[in-house]
């Protein structure tokens, strides 16, 4: 599992202050810490950056000075992404394009021009598709369009779009279903998710276990990569094969094995309960671990 560290994100107060003050040291410390935590890519999320798209160039150069990892240029603004592409030492990942008309016309051609990989989400002009089939239909259209621009499947990272389990439990399952179908639909494509969105709206202290469990489940469905919290050591251990017992337990829940959660030690019990909620076996509430 390829992990893209999510921690340099404009919604973080620390990051947004460092960006407006061009405080290189803060950003470089964060980049180094993520590299040490074992991430494979570093995400640079600057939001839409309408006023100052060139900040991406500064950010890329700042991070490159201290870290040798590939970068993920995360903005919905093609100007900002291109500013980063121009100065990147190694081909970065464009994060992200979608099936929306403006994105197809302005973001996707950048992947052709700079010969780099690109994340393409299932979003289109109609919004986020409702189920696995609709996601498939949407991504087929967009990938076909990308292929015509000379971007081959191997350079495309498909994003199924993760919804918060507290908002739409069914969508959580549909994204897994879609991930399973992906290699048959579009052989050779990679995939990635914005993992933390699954726990958006869930009380803070309970977000980690949802993120971790879901990532193990998506990995079993064939997911290639995730944008995730680099500092969640347990998450890194799980997806890098360092906690096989927990992984096996989560897989058993996915395979429909009847596991009595209450007979397990607390940590194992919580993973089983969480996997059951994410499989849609029981209705989500913030109290799922207490049942």
């Amino acid at each position: 599992m390829v992990i893209i560290g999510e921690n340099i994100h404009i919604l973080s107060k620390k990051v947004s202050e460092a960006l407006s003050n061009k405080d290189a040291k803060v950003i470089q410390e964060m980049a180094k810490a993520q590299a040490e935590a074992g991430v494979d890519y570093i995400d640079l999320n600057i939001g839409p950056a309408r006023k100052n798209p060139d900040i991406m160039a500064w950010l890329v150069e700042t991070v490159q000075e201290v870290v040798d990892l590939p970068l993920s240029l995360d903005s919905t603004n093609p100007q900002a992404v291109e500013a980063g592409l121009k100065v990147a030492k190694w081909p970065p990942l464009i994060n992200s394009a979608s099936g929306r008309t403006d994105s197809k016309e302005q973001m996707l051609p950048l992947a052709t021009k700079y010969k780099c990989d690109v994340v393409i989400s299932v979003l289109n002009d109609q919004g986020i598709p409702a189920d696995a089939e609709a996601r498939a239909e949407s991504i087929m259209d967009t990938v076909t369009y990308a292929n015509e621009l000379g971007i081959e499947n191997e350079r495309i990272w498909v994003d199924p779009i993760i919804m918060p389990v507290s908002v739409d439990q069914k969508a959580v399952m549909e994204a897994m279903e879609f991930t399973k179908m992906l290699q048959d639909l579009l052989p050779g494509v990679k995939s990635t998710v914005g993992l933390s969105n699954v726990s958006n709206g869930t009380p803070k202290e309970l977000r980690g276990i949802l993120n971790r469990t879901y990532l193990v489940m998506l990995q079993k469905c064939g997911l290639y990569s995730a944008i995730a919290d680099a500092f969640d050591q347990e998450l890194m251990d799980l997806v890098k094969g360092r906690a096989p017992e927990i992984v096996e337990l989560i897989h058993k829940v996915m395979d429909g094995e009847d596991i009595d959660a209450d007979s397990l030690p607390p940590k194992e019990r919580d993973y089983v309960k969480t996997a059951k909620v994410l499989m849609g076996e029981s209705l989500y509430s913030h109290t799922w671990l207490e049942l």
């Binding site: 507290s166 029981s282 209705l283 989500y284 509430s285 913030h286 109290t287 207490e290 049942l291």
Partner: protein
């Protein structure tokens, strides 16, 4: 060729049976192991048909359409007499006493006075009593704990209890032997969360769920979905935190809307359609206002 057999469903769980009131004035709701009105087609029982409570206020009603008050207009100044008339003249199966005057924005009636009113209504009506505060999370606990105490042991249905104020009200209900209505704002996940917390204080046999019941044209379809989904989760998927009976408290919602207010005939259909919709979605207890609509729905339930 083999004889055709219509497919039928059997489900693994059932709705909890809740008793409201005591002795010969008790009614039971819930207990079904099928979806609403499907007992004819599917394998299961619907042992307790849905019950209807008529709405009574603790103060002279305002904003009510004349037809809603027709059979009671000479007694509305006295909640006890009003409730008694609902039972004697209309055959109400329960009374829904809305303590609207207790709201700080109304008359800010004291807990003592409110409890006294509830007691008088209870003594006069002879049917099970549902007592509702106004959803004010500071005032309701004061009011409802006092009511619980004044009618200790009479097994009232007290509500609404919200995530903000469930503890004092549920504790009072436990101490004095009453049931409560767990109310969540049209959100099945929040409903479950509240149920889980409430079940640490009260058994499910003492809880009725209120996901809110918006009127036709004002969110009815959302209400329908939540009611239906609650039954699916409880009856089909055996989620024990979602197996309590459902109350559809829509009369206030219907009659505060512009169209029913301006045109009584339209209002009658408005309440009728709203009532039928919630019955179809699985409501076990309805709160109604217009006497004519009440009669029609009662007949429909009897014939179903």
């Amino acid at each position: 060729m083999a004889e055709y057999r219509a497919p039928f469903e059997t489900y693994k769980a059932k709705v909890v049976e809740v008793t409201i009131g005591k002795g010969d004035r008790a009614i039971k709701i819930g207990g079904e192991n099928v979806l609403a009105f499907n007992q004819t087609f599917d394998q299961g029982d619907f042992p307790n048909s849905p019950k209807i409570a008529l709405e009574v206020w603790d103060k002279e009603p305002y904003g009510w359409t004349p037809g809603c008050l027709e059979p009671v207009k000479d007694v509305v100044g006295d909640p006890a007499a009003w409730a008694k008339r609902c039972v004697e003249a209309l055959g109400a199966e329960a009374i829904f006493l809305y303590l609207i005057s207790t709201d700080p924005n109304e008359d800010d009636t004291s807990p003592e006075v409110a409890a006294e009113t509830a007691k008088k209504v209870y003594e006069a009506c002879g049917v099970p009593l549902i007592v509702f505060g106004t959803g004010n999370e500071e005032k309701d606990p004061l009011i409802l704990t006092k009511v619980a105490e004044a009618l200790s042991g009479e097994n009232l249905l007290l509500g609404p209890v919200l995530k903000e104020d469930y503890e004092p009200i549920a504790n009072a209900a436990k101490e004095h032997g009453h049931c409560v209505v767990a109310q969540a704002p049209i959100d099945i996940n929040l409903q479950k969360e509240l149920d889980v917390k409430l079940m640490r204080i009260l058994p499910p046999e003492r809880i009725v769920l209120d996901p809110l019941a918006p009127a036709l044209g004002y969110g009815l379809e959302y209400g329908f979905s939540i009611f239906e989904r609650t039954k699916h989760v409880g009856v089909i998927f055996n989620d024990q935190t979602m197996q309590m009976p459902l109350i559809a408290n829509f009369s206030f919602e219907v009659w505060r809307q512009k169209e029913p207010k301006e045109n009584e005939e339209m209002g009658v259909y408005w309440e009728l359609i709203t009532a039928i919709t919630y019955l179809e979605a699985g409501a076990n207890l309805l709160v109604m206002r217009h006497p004519e609509v009440y009669k029609i729905i009662k007949e429909m339930i009897a014939e179903a």
